[in-house]
């Protein structure tokens, strides 16, 4: 029943996409399309949410449609895991559709966006619903393809075509890896249904290979280092609400793929998988945030932060694998809850932030922070919501980002119970990486918010910006509220995750709902507890009371005057700190290693009127290490082989002749 409803929603989305092809030229197309996707995703969200809260609605047996592989059919099934990710997907989808109602009006090429947006949503829903290998991969690649089309929407802008190219290539690489993984899982006879795959028990080395392939496949879509290169190119290239979906939701679908394979289909893991995954996660987190710190393009900065958060999620997943391998279900449940809760949270605040970036983009036409500033005066609401998002993604209490990272830390602190020494030593190190990335993220968002919204406008467009439309604001408000709610009432969300972890790890966190004062206690009261509500009320109360008291009894006089600035203020906005100068200390500390950062100052001689220039050169070490050689190799081989195009007929005949003789010799030898 529930599955049918969800599939009807998907069908509605697909129909909308097809209709959009016809309608696209009309003025009203934008409203029609987003007006259609909004209810569809809201219904899907409602159904999935209901199924998550009331497990009675989940269905054990898959629904089989006579599509896809003929003798197999397309299997669809809704279990707790799928329900949770459907909530994530459709929440993002609903928000994006709401945002699109307003944002879409500024779209310069609606005909290239409207048809693919619903298709993209449908693809993501199908990936999560699929219950056999073929349908899964079909939907997976369909999702990539439709998002590629959206990335190519503004194909005339420099670099977007290249971004789309790298994106689709990496996506297909991921799909290939997954195809191979499922090839191993389903065996030569082709038992593609997930039920059959579960029943089959692959050997140790085989399952290790499968996990590696799944990590490659899902990881390349989720953007784990070093497979992340496409992400900061492709996500910003798309229209902002699509960027929000790609960053906030599609990467989560990739995480779903990994979870599905590693926890559900693959049976009991080996402990060192956990070590590997967690370590990769930690490295990904730090690399992502460091890249983000060096970025001055607002949307690319956000995209790099997606890489960071994916790293955090994979840390949780790795821990869960390690705990599960050592038969510690409770701990595994904790780690898994942390990871999944972070999935949810990140989908919230990343969408929120991209919406904010989109609003800035429409208001100013600028993505380069160095040309923004002072927007808090012109777009106060957007600024406020963006601030909430920044605080949430920087894992600051009382917002939701902190709760999931706190849970991750709690899971890390359970590591001493692990028997393997490697894990004992590795996990705290990973914890250090996590802490480092959290702190750097805070720095990064001080920069992002401060340079974009605070200070004085650095360009005319920033000075004349106007507040964005009400649909965009509504959708941002929705997400901001959710960020706060998930931060101060985490108990309810954690309880909602219980059936998921129960299904995957065989255990779930203790019931949080009826604990007094809505405290969350992952393991035991004596071990750790956190109460977002109280913290929030404390801060609100003490800040409010303090302010009230001071205004009441002390002075409340206020006078506006020019900034003091140690006595020599300069009206020129260029004297402010820029994004580059803000991140300079951190670049000095980390950049020399990670980016081979080189700074050179061209100081003109005294009396020369030319301004002094500071050049900063950063290099993407990973690109130089992995991708450039690969491209070089392909080009080299192509060059070598290409000579065959220019031989004489006689030479071609020689080829034929030698092939014949060779085969004859083989035959003679074989007999």
């Amino acid at each position: 029943m529930t599955v049918e409803v969800l599939l009807w929603c998907v069908a509605a989305l697909l129909v909308t996409g097809v209709a959009a092809v016809v309608l696209a030229r009309r003025r009203s197309a934008t409203v029609l399309v987003y007006g259609a996707t909004l209810p569809a995703s809201v219904i899907a969200l409602a159904v999935a949410g209901a199924a998550l809260l009331a497990p009675a609605l989940l269905e054990g047996a898959p629904l089989i449609l006579p599509l896809g592989l003929p003798w197999l059919g397309a299997h669809f099934r809704l279990d707790a895991l799928a329900a949770f990710f459907l909530v994530v997907v459709n929440l993002g989808a609903a928000a994006a559709s709401l945002y699109g109602l307003g944002y879409g009006r500024h779209e310069e090429a609606p005909a290239r966006v409207l048809p693919f947006f619903p298709a993209f949503l449908a693809g993501m829903n199908l990936v999560v619903l699929a219950d056999d290998a073929f349908t899964f991969l079909f939907a997976w690649e369909f999702m990539s393809l439709s998002s590629w089309a959206l990335v190519m929407a503004h194909h005339r802008r420099a670099g977007n075509a290249a971004a789309g190219y790298i994106y689709l290539l990496m996506a297909s690489f991921g799909t290939l890896a997954l195809i191979l993984a499922f090839g191993l899982l389903s065996g030569p006879v082709g038992g593609y249904a997930f039920a059959e795959i579960r029943s089959a028990a692959p050997s140790a080395w085989m399952s290790a290979a499968i996990l590696a392939l799944a990590l490659l496949g899902a990881g390349s879509k989720a953007g784990i280092v070093p497979l992340h290169v496409w992400l900061p190119l492709a996500h910003p290239a798309a229209p902002s609400h699509v960027s929000a979906l790609m960053s906030g939701v599609m990467t989560k679908v990739a995480v779903y793929g990994f979870v599905r394979v590693a926890f559900d289909l693959l049976g009991t893991p080996l402990w060192w998988w956990g070590a590997a995954v967690a370590l990769i996660g930690g490295i990904t987190a730090v690399m992502g945030v460091l890249h983000a710190l060096m970025e001055h393009d607002l949307k690319r900065l956000l995209a790099y932060h997606t890489v960071e958060n994916i790293g955090i999620i994979f840390i949780g997943l790795g821990l869960a694998l390690a705990f599960e391998a050592n038969e510690m279900p409770a701990a595994a449940a904790l780690a898994l809850t942390a990871a999944l809760f972070h999935v949810f949270n990140h989908s919230l605040f990343k969408s929120l932030l991209f919406f904010g970036a989109g609003a800035v983009l429409t208001a100013t036409g600028e993505r380069d922070m160095e040309r923004l500033g002072g927007l808090i005066h012109r777009m106060p609401k957007t600024a406020f919501f963006f601030l909430v998002g920044s605080a949430a993604i920087s894992a600051l209490p009382p917002f939701n980002g902190f709760v999931s990272e706190w849970l991750t830390f709690q899971a890390i602190l359970l590591s001493p119970a692990l028997p393997q020494w490697l894990l004992k030593f590795l996990v705290p190190a990973v914890g250090a990486l996590l802490a480092l990335s959290a702190a750097l993220a805070a720095a990064c968002f001080v920069k992002a918010f401060g340079v974009t919204f605070l200070g004085r406008p650095r360009s005319a467009v920033a000075r004349d910006a106007v507040e964005t439309d009400r649909f965009s604001l509504a959708s941002m408000a929705l997400l901001a509220t959710l960020c706060l709610l998930a931060g101060i009432l985490p108990g309810y969300f954690i309880d909602a995750l219980a059936p998921v972890t129960q299904g995957l790890a065989g255990a779930h966190l203790p019931e949080q709902r009826q604990l007094d004062w809505l405290t969350i206690v992952p393991v035991a009261q004596s071990r750790s507890s956190y109460n977002g509500l109280l913290v929030f009320l404390f801060i609100a109360a003490s800040a409010g009371l303090g302010a009230a008291a001071i205004h009441r009894w002390a002075s409340s006089a206020l006078r506006r005057s020019p900034a003091w600035d140690c006595g020599f203020p300069d009206p020129n906005p260029a004297t402010q700190y820029t994004a580059g100068s803000f991140s300079q200390p951190i670049r000095r500390v980390f950049g020399t290693v990670v980016f081979r950062a080189r700074e050179e100052v061209h100081m003109p001689p005294p009396g020369d009127l030319r301004p002094a220039v500071l050049h900063v050169r950063l290099r993407d070490v990973l690109w130089d290490a992995f991708y450039a050689p690969l491209a070089g190799f392909v080009d080299y081989v192509a060059g070598i082989l290409n000579q065959v195009q220019f031989l004489t007929i006689r030479a071609y005949l020689t080829l034929v002749f030698s092939a014949l003789v060779l085969l004859l010799v083989v035959l003679a030898a074989w007999q």
């Binding site: 830390f409 480092l436 702190a439 805070a442 913290v535 200390p585 951190i586």
Partner: protein
Amino acid sequence: MAIAVDLGVQFLQMMLVLALAPLLTGYVRRVKAHLVRRQGPPLLQPYRDLLRLLRKEVVLAESASWLFRVAPYLVFAATWVAAALVPTFATGLLFSYAADVIAIVALLGSARFMLALAGLDVGTSFGGIGASREMMIASLAEPAMLMVVFTLSLMAGSTQLSFIAASMQAPEVGLRVSLALALVALIMVAIAENGRIPVDNPATHLELTMVHEAMILEYSGRHLAVIELASYVKLLLYVSVIGCVFFPWGLAPSGEGAIAYLGGIAVYLLKLAAGGFALAVFETAIAKMRVFRYSDFLGAALMLGLLATLLLFVSRVT
């Protein structure tokens, strides 16, 4: 009834923290002055400063936004709440379950976040310098702090300061290499976070060297007062954390009557005095370092913290 008492004790602690914070700062200043053979300001000078600032009008830069005016109160609130959650004279207070030590670190992070934003808000170069350097310091100090937290909570099997303190009192803890390392790391972090010498000089107004001062350069009047108070509270917080974790004696368990609490307060005052004196001595003994040496200093703290965590396992098996 019991709730009421607990509430009362909790409230008492919060007020105590608030009341003692300026005193501690004043005490440190005075000791420092004495150490360099100066008269030094009277002990209660910080209170006077605060009151004077509170009475003055606020001079607000034209380019300042609403955030600039809200930030001080939020910074103060976050810091105060964090401080209220640290066991000072008694463990297991009512709200100590609301947040563990990780949350406390994060709350300080929130305060820093707001402060750095405020530094950028007016759009002056000095505010930028302050914010950027502060975040750079924090980006190393916070992980170091968390490593220390790891060490302690792995040892105590809990991230609740009350429980950590309690388990530290247990006899089997004894002296540990990792504890020593953690203590050193924590002290280094505390120095950095409170902007003390050698990382930052609270007394300086030489623009290019200041960090914390640069961020709050544009503040005046009540805003400045609130921010100053917040920084006093922060210093007090770190001293109390060190006190209650590494010198956990004399902490009154919850629900022990007034006498025990009074005893706890007395011991707590002693700890503060000792900590303040040590800080003053340290600050007079050492010179401030260049800005770009910070990373080495804090990196060392981070490594110490990590080392402490890892050594923990070694010392466990031995």
